[in-house]
C-alpha cells in the first residue's frame, strides 16, 4: 500500500507516536552518497595492499586466513598442507597475567585426586561422596545402591548439586534397576529429576516410555501432543492419514482437538484430490502442476482448488465452496485466495463475479471483505490490464489513496475524474503533462478544462 507523501505526513503529525521516520531523508541519503564517493575516489589513488603487520589476512569469504574453520577446510585437502601462513597469535598480554588454566582453578588438591583414582571404587562411598566423585568425572559404581531408599537418597543428592550430567547418570541407573511404576511414582514428587528424565527420554528418542510416563502423571495433553508429533515421521500419506485419524480421539484441549480433526480431514481430502489430476482435463495440460498437493497447508489447498477445480459444484470434495465450508475458512482469507488464483489464470470474469453482489432490486454492486486497495494490489501483481484495475481502484473510498494508487497503476481516467470531482483545475492541468500527447486521456482533460459547467475551485 502506498501512502502519498502528504497523506503520510498528515498521519504522523496527527498520531501520538513517532515511527522510524527519515526527517532529513534527502540529507541522509546524500550523506551516504558522499561517503560512497569519497571511498571510490580514494580507491584510485593507491594500490590495494593490505598491511600484513597490522591487519589480519582475510580470504575473500572473509574468514581470517589461519582461523580454525578456514584450516579445517584447508587441511582436509592434503595438497595445501605445507603452506600455512604464519600469523602471530602471541598475545599482547604480559605472560604472568594468567598462569593458570580454567580447570586448575577448581581441581583442588591434585595429589589427593590421584590417590583416590587408584582406590578401589567398590568401597563404601556415601551418596554424597559418590555424587561428588561423579561431578569430578571419577569412576564410581552405582550398583551398590540396592534398596529403593538408597537409590532415592542418591537421586536427591544428585539433584541437590544441580549438575544435570550427574542427575542424568543416576536416572539412567534408576531406569535400569527400578520398575516403571515405582520410578514414575517417585519422580512425580521430584520435579527437577522428573524434568531431567523427560529430557533424557526425549533426547534418546524413547517415545513409548515417555508416553507412558505422561499417562502415569496424568499429563494427558502433553501425551496427546507428543503422540501427534509422531505423524511427522510417517512419509506414506495413507499411513499418515490413518495415524492422524487415530490421534483425533486423544485427550487434546478442546481447540487443539478441533485442529487435529481438521488436519486429518484435510489430508483425507488431499488424497482424494490428488487422485483427480487426470491427464485428460484441459487445465492440467495447460498449467501442469509443479508439486503434489499432499501435506500442503489448507490455504494452499484452497488456492489449488480455486485454480484447478473452480467451477465444480459444491457437492464435490475439491470444490472451493465445499472446502470453505468444511474448514470454516474466514471470509477474508477465502476472498484473497480465490482472487489470487483466478487473477493468476487471468480469469477476469471470475474476479468480477467474485465481488459482484445483487441487491433485492436486482442492481449489482461491488462488495469486498478486503479493502479495494488490497484487491488492486493483488491484481496488479498478477499483471491485470488497466481496464480491470481501474474498476477496483475507482472504488477506493479515500480520495488521496485513490489518486496515489491510480497514478501508481497508470489508471489515468480515475485520476482525471477524481480531480474533476475535487474541482481542482490546477491538479488537472498539472496532470495533463503526464499523459501521452494526443491520447484519449489528453482529450478528456481538455474537454473538462473547457467545460464551462464546472465550477473550479482554483
Amino acid at each position: 500500500m502506498m501512502k502519498s507523501k502528504a497523506d503520510e505526513e498528515d498521519y504522523w503529525n496527527s498520531s501520538k507516536f513517532k515511527a522510524f521516520t527519515f526527517d532529513d531523508e534527502d540529507d541522509e541519503f546524500t550523506k551516504l552518497k558522499e561517503s560512497r564517493q569519497a571511498v571510490n575516489s580514494i580507491c584510485g589513488l593507491v594500490e590495494e595492499e593490505e598491511d600484513e603487520d597490522e591487519v589480519e589476512k582475510v580470504s575473500w569469504s572473509g574468514e581470517p586466513v589461519g582461523s580454525i574453520s578456514w584450516s579445517v577446510r584447508e587441511t582436509a585437502s592434503s595438497l595445501r598442507e605445507q603452506s600455512f601462513p604464519k600469523i602471530d597469535t602471541t598475545p599482547s598480554l604480559p605472560k604472568n597475567s594468567s598462569g593458570y588454566s580454567l580447570s586448575s582453578l577448581f581441581k583442588g588438591k591434585e595429589g589427593e585426586r590421584e590417590m583416590m583414582d587408584c582406590a578401589d571404587y567398590v568401597s563404601d562411598w556415601s551418596p554424597e561422596e559418590t555424587v561428588h566423585r561423579m561431578q569430578q568425572g571419577k569412576a564410581v559404581s552405582l550398583e551398590k545402591f540396592r534398596s529403593l531408599q538408597e537409590k532415592l537418597l542418591l537421586l536427591d543428592e544428585a539433584v541437590g548439586v544441580h549438575d544435570g550430567n550427574v542427575i542424568t547418570a543416576v536416572l539412567i541407573y534408576l531406569k535400569k534397576s527400578l520398575s516403571k511404576e515405582v520410578l514414575f511414582r517417585e519422580l512425580e514428587s521430584r520435579q527437577t529429576a522428573l524434568r531431567h528424565f523427560i529430557h533424557y527420554l526425549t533426547e534418546s528418542k524413547e517415545q513409548r516410555l515417555l508416553l507412558e510416563l505422561y499417562r502415569a502423571l496424568g499429563r494427558t495433553e502433553d501425551e496427546a501432543l507428543l503422540q501427534y508429533k509422531e505423524h511427522l515421521r510417517i512419509t506414506d500419506e495413507n499411513k499418515r492419514r490413518d495415524f492422524l485419524k487415530s490421534c483425533v480421539s486423544l485427550p487434546f484441549s478442546p481447540e487443539d482437538a478441533g485442529h487435529v480433526q481438521d488436519h486429518y480431514t484435510l489430508l483425507e481430502r488431499q488424497i482424494i484430490i490428488e487422485a483427480e489430476t487426470g491427464g485428460k482435463v484441459e487445465i492440467f495440460q495447460k498449467f501442469p502442476r509443479r508439486a503434489s498437493i499432499l501435506n500442503m497447508p489448507l490455504i494452499t489447498t484452497l488456492y489449488y482448488c480455486c485454480f484447478y477445480h473452480y467451477a465444480e459444484t459444491e457437492g464435490t470434495y475439491s470444490s472451493p465452496a465445499n472446502i470453505r465450508q468444511t474448514f470454516r475458512i474466514a471470509e477474508k482469507q477465502y476472498f484473497v485466495t480465490a482472487l489470487a488464483a483466478r487473477a493468476k489464470l487471468k480469469a477476469w470474469h471470475d474476479v468480477d463475479a467474485l465481488f459482484t453482489s445483487r441487491n433485492w432490486l436486482g442492481f449489482t454492486r461491488k462488495k469486498s471483505p478486503l479493502s479495494f486497495s488490497r484487491v488492486a494490489d493483488i491484481l496488479s501483481k498478477n499483471n491485470a490490464p488497466v481496464q480491470v484495475l481501474q474498476e477496483y481502484v475507482g472504488l477506493v473510498d479515500d480520495v488521496e489513496l485513490r489518486v496515489a494508487l491510480a497514478q501508481k497503476y497508470k489508471c489515468h481516467f480515475i485520476v482525471i475524474s477524481t480531480y474533476r470531482d475535487l474541482k481542482d483545475r490546477q491538479l488537472l492541468l498539472g496532470y495533463r503533462g503526464k499523459v501521452e500527447r494526443g491520447s484519449e486521456e489528453e482529450r478528456k482533460i481538455d474537454e473538462l478544462l473547457s467545460n464551462p459547467q464546472i465550477r473550479w475551485k482554483n
Binding site: 500500500m1 515511527a19 527519515f22 597490522e54 588454566s101 580447570s103 501432543l225
Partner: protein, 615 residues
C-alpha cells in the same frame, strides 16, 4: 589479535588466555602428532579463542569435519574429536571408530567435550561398544566466550528453550559454573541482584558452590562491584521488537554468527581503474564485526538514522588525510605520509565496507527510497519494513492491542514468513498481558490454516513460555509498567541521544530500564512494577576477605556485570554501552549472556524442531 578484548574496563583477555592455556594442556596430554575432528558448530566459537597456529604448535597436523563413515587417512598418532555433548554426534563418532582399519598402525582416540562432558553421551558410546577405544575423555570448559571488550556469551542456542519451555536447568548450572570461573579470575563479586526464577536459581547455586570452595580464599581484588542476573522472561517484549541500531539491523537482516556476518556480494565488488565490473563475485562476502575496527566501534551502537552522517564525516577526514600528499614536499614529509599509509588504507577499506552495508540496509529500511528507484522489489521491501515498524510501535504504545490487527491478518494472507507473524502476534499478546480468547483463537486458526496444522506444536510451545497467552485477568498491567518505567519516550533523539530509547526509536528496553533504575535510584522505587513482572527479585551479598575491600577514588566508576539468562539483543547491548558512556551515570557495564539473539533466532529456537521431520 585479540587486543580489543583488553581495551575495556575489564580485561577480558585474561579469560581468553586462561581458555587458551587449558587447550594447550589438553593437547599436550595426547602426546605425539594429532588430527582434530571437529563438530562443525564448534569451529566458530573456538575461532574466538584460538587460531590454527596455536594448534599447530602442539602438533596438530590435520583437521577434519565430523562426518559419518571412515575417517580420512592421516599419518598421525592421535585422533581427537572436539564435540558438543550430543547423542547424534556420538553415533557418528562410533561409526568413525568402527570403520578404522585395525590392522594398519593403530591410532589413539580421544574425545574433548565442549563445554561439558556428559554421562548420557558416554553411555551412548558404551552402548555402541566403542567407549573402551578412547584413551582420554575430557571436557573443555568453554562456558563464557569473550566476544568483545565488554561482552561475553555462552553461545548456548537452546538455553531459553531449555529454561523456560523444558524446565531443564542444566544451562543454568553452566551459567553458575561460568560465573565461578569469572570470580576466580576477577575476584569475588560483593553484591548480587536478580530478578526472575532462573536468576534466583543461579544465585543459589553460586552461593552453594562458594561454600564448597570455602577452603581456598580468593585473594584477587574484585573487579566487578555488582552482578545483576536478569531472566529473559522478565522482559519478553524487547527481543520481539525490530532493533534499530546499526549493529542490531545488521543482525536482524543478515544475522551475525560468532562475530561474523555474511552479506550479498554485489555492493562489495571493487572496481579497479579501467576495469568494468564484469565478474561480480557470487559468493557472499563475509566480514568480521567487532570493536577492533575503529569505525565499527564508533557507529555500531548508533541509531541507523545517525549512521549516514557519521560515515560522511569519516569520509571527509580520510579524504583530507589522503590529500595531504600534495602538501608533502620534503623527503621527510613524504616519508611521514607513507608511514601513515597502511593505517589510512585500513580506514579506507573499513569505510568502504560500512558504506556498502549501510547502503544495503538503507534499501530495506528507507520508505522514501522508492522515489529514486524504479525497482519494484525494493519498494515492497521498504514498505513492508515501514508498515511492520508502525504496527510494532502501535503495540508498544498500547494502541488497539485487544483486537485482531488488520496488518497481521494481511501478512498471513500474503503468506509472509511464519516467524514474522509469530513475532508480531506474540508482541501483541505481551503488550496486552495476554490476548482475548476470541482474538487468540482467530490468530491460531489463521496461522494453522495458512502454514499447516503441524505448527500447533510451535503454538503450544509459545504458550508454555508465556509469549502467547489468553488473557486471564481482565486487568492489563502493561500500561502501568510502560508508564512507570517510561518505556515509551515521545521524542527519542536518534542523532544525539539523551536516553536509551533511541535504540528502538522511541521504545526503551524494559530489561535495560530495570538495570538503569537499579543503579539509580534503586529498585525500592519500583516495587510495584517489580511485583507485576514474573519471578522474585532479590539481593545477596558475598563476604570479601579482609583487605580486599576496594578503596574507591573520588569519581571512580563502579562496574556492574549484567547477565541475561536466556539471551540478549544487540540493541540492548547498545543501550547498556550508552549508559556506560553517560558522563553522570557513574556506572560501567559488562554484558554476559547465554546467547546473542534477535527476535527471529529466538522464536526459531522455540519452534518445534524441524529435525523431527527426518526419521
Amino acid at each position: 589479535m585479540a587486543a580489543h578484548l583488553s581495551y575495556g574496563r575489564v580485561n577480558l583477555n585474561i579469560l581468553r588466555e586462561a581458555a587458551r592455556k587449558e587447550l594447550r594442556e589438553f593437547l599436550d596430554k595426547c602426546a605425539g602428532s594429532k588430527a582434530i575432528v571437529w563438530d562443525e558448530y564448534l569451529t566458530g566459537p573456538f575461532g574466538l579463542i584460538a587460531q590454527y597456529s596455536l594448534l599447530k604448535e602442539h602438533e596438530v597436523e590435520k583437521m577434519f569435519t565430523l562426518k559419518g563413515g571412515r575417517l580420512p587417512a592421516a599419518d598421525v598418532k592421535n585422533i581427537i574429536f572436539f564435540v558438543r555433548p550430543r547423542l547424534e554426534l556420538m553415533d557418528i563418532i562410533a561409526e568413525n571408530v568402527f570403520s578404522e582399519d585395525k590392522m594398519h598402525s593403530p591410532r589413539d582416540f580421544h574425545i574433548l567435550f565442549v563445554p561439558r562432558r556428559s554421562m548420557l553421551c558416554e553411555q551412548r558410546l558404551k552402548e555402541q561398544g566403542v567407549l573402551g577405544s578412547f584413551t582420554n575423555i575430557d571436557e573443555y570448559i568453554l562456558d563464557l566466550i569473550p566476544y568483545d571488550g565488554d561482552l561475553l556469551s555462552m553461545e548456548s542456542e537452546s538455553a531459553f528453550r531449555e529454561c523456560y519451555l523444558e524446565n531443564d536447568q542444566t544451562s543454568l548450572y553452566h551459567t553458575a559454573k561460568g560465573l565461578m570461573t569469572l570470580q576466580a579470575l576477577y575476584g569475588t563479586i560483593p553484591q548480587i541482584y536478580g530478578k526472575g526464577e532462573c536468576a534466583r536459581h543461579v544465585a543459589n547455586m553460586m552461593l552453594r558452590m562458594k561454600r564448597e570452595f570455602a577452603g581456598s580464599q580468593n585473594q584477587i581484588l574484585p573487579v566487578f562491584d555488582t552482578l545483576l542476573l536478569l531472566d529473559r522472561n522478565v522482559d519478553l517484549l524487547t527481543p520481539l521488537a525490530t532493533q534499530l541500531t546499526y549493529e542490531g539491523l545488521i543482525d536482524e537482516i543478515y544475522g551475525i554468527t560468532n562475530g561474523y556476518v555474511k552479506l550479498p556480494p554485489e555492493k562489495f565488488a571493487q572496481k579497479k581503474q579501467g576495469e568494468t565490473g564484469k565478474d561480480l563475485p557470487t559468493e557472499p562476502k563475509k566480514l568480521q564485526l567487532n570493536s577492533a575496527e575503529e569505525l565499527y566501534a564508533e557507529i555500531r551502537d548508533k541509531n541507523f538514522n545517525a549512521v549516514g552522517a557519521a560515515l560522511s564525516k569519516k569520509a571527509k577526514i580520510i579524504s583530507a588525510a589522503f590529500e595531504e600528499r600534495h602538501n608533502a614536499k620534503t623527503v621527510g614529509e613524504i616519508k611521514q605520509f607513507v608511514s601513515q599509509l597502511p593505517h589510512m588504507q585500513a580506514a579506507r577499506s573499513s569505510l568502504a565496507n560500512h558504506t556498502s552495508i549501510a547502503e544495503l540496509i538503507k534499501d530495506i529500511t528507507s520508505l522514501l527510497y522508492y522515489n529514486k528507484t524504479s525497482c519494484n522489489s525494493l519498494v515492497s521491501a521498504s514498505e513492508a519494513f515501514f508498515d511492520n515498524l508502525t504496527v510494532e510501535q502501535e503495540f508498544m504504545t498500547g494502541v488497539d492491542t485487544d483486537k485482531v490487527n488488520t496488518y497481521i491478518e494481511d501478512c498471513i494472507a500474503q503468506k509472509d514468513p511464519l516467524i514474522k507473524i509469530l513475532r508480531l502476534v506474540c508482541m501483541q499478546s505481551v503488550c496486552n498481558n495476554g490476548l482475548k480468547q476470541k482474538v487468540l483463537d482467530y490468530y491460531k486458526r489463521e496461522i494453522l490454516q495458512t502454514y499447516g496444522y503441524e505448527h500447533m506444536l510451535t503454538l503450544n510451545n509459545l504458550e508454555k513460555t508465556g509469549l502467547l497467552k489468553p488473557q486471564t485477568s481482565s486487568r492489563n498491567n502493561y500500561p502501568t509498567i510502560r508508564k512507570t518505567l517510561k518505556l515509551w519516550m515521545e521524542d527519542a533523539n536518534e542523532q544525539n541521544p539523551n536516553d536509551i530509547s533511541y535504540v528502538y526509536s522511541g521504545y526503551a528496553p524494559l530489561s535495560i530500564r530495570l538495570t538503569q533504575v537499579l543503579a539509580r535510584p534503586g529498585w525500592r522505587s519500583i516495587e510495584e512494577v517489580l511485583k507485576m513482572l514474573p519471578g522474585p527479585h532479590f539481593e545477596e551479598r558475598q563476604q570479601l576477605p579482609a583487605g580486599l575491600h576496594k578503596k574507591r577514588q573520588q569519581g571512580e566508576n563502579r562496574t556492574t556485570l549484567v547477565f541475561f539468562l536466556g539471551g540478549v539483543t544487540y540493541a540492548e547491548i547498545a543501550a547498556l554501552r550508552f549508559l556506560s558512556q553517560m558522563e553522570d551515570s557513574g556506572m560501567e557495564y559488562i554484558i554476559a549472556t547465554t546467547k546473542l539473539i534477535n527476535g527471529t533466532s529466538w522464536i526459531k529456537s522455540l519452534m518445534d524442531r524441524p529435525e523431527s521431520q527426518s526419521p
